[in-house]
């Protein structure tokens, strides 16, 4: 029986300020392979010189267009190399996830099995 709860990741939005240049966004999950690894890299475009926050949304899909999956995840933001007009500010962020009811990994010997069920009493 599988005990892990695997989630699918659809998209992630960041509200940020990056007036000196484009920043880099990275998204790590532990699947496939059961080890946290980089699964997605995106660019946060340079924002306005007035330092007003802007929002960018990333579609978290793999090379086949399927949503990324994992039991663990973490996002990472790397600022523009120089900060002549100011550094990168993160104001807020949100990720859209959906847990999969039953996820079976054959390499781990997982299976699904119900209890003995009575149809009618």
């Amino acid at each position: 029986m599988a005990f892990r709860k695997v989630a699918q990741f659809k998209e992630l939005s960041l509200e940020y300020v990056s007036p000196s240049g484009a920043s880099t966004f990275k998204f790590f999950t532990d699947m496939p392979g059961n080890a946290l690894a980089l699964r997605f890299t995106g660019s946060l475009p340079q924002t306005n010189p007035g330092h007003y926050p802007e929002t960018t949304t990333f579609s978290l899909v793999d090379g086949n267009g399927a949503p990324l999956e994992g039991t663990l995840y973490y996002p990472r933001v790397e600022p523009f190399a120089t900060s002549a007009n100011g550094g990168t500010q993160l104001r807020s962020g949100v990720v859209f996830i959906r847990p999969i009811g039953v996820y079976l990994d054959g390499s781990l010997g997982e299976f699904f099995e119900t209890m003995p069920i009575s149809v009618g009493v």
Partner: protein, 156 residues
Amino acid sequence: MEHVALFGIIELQYHATNGGTLTLSTDLPGDAMAVRETRTLPTTAGSRRVIRFRLSGNTKGRLYRVKVVPTGNGIIRLYAGRIWARLLPSPQWQWYAIPIPETPEEWERVALPIPATGEWERVALPIPPTGDWERVQLPIKPTPPNPEWVDIPVDQ
């Protein structure tokens, strides 16, 4: 009293990267759970699919159990399932849901743990305050109201 059910069809909604095996166990005949039906789940192309297996026609039991196992190192995402059965001696067939944990259709919004940026806050600068008007006496020697005798220095 538990009724004996006759099982006709089993249906699964799943996604398999390398196929799998579905087994259906019941407790009849023999009053012991045993595998009565085994079916191969084919690999699905890209996304989930619905598959329906017609059973042998005489598969029956008071209890049933469903087991799904991936083939090799494959992955199976199991979304839903149901079984077509009728309770003997009733002639009425109907679907019974197999208790598979649900996968929600909706995406859930999860906020990232980014410390919030607050509203504008009033902070006083360290400038000493300017006080009210203050009375300050000028250094002018007062003129007495009446003449005063003053000794004139005369040679003796």
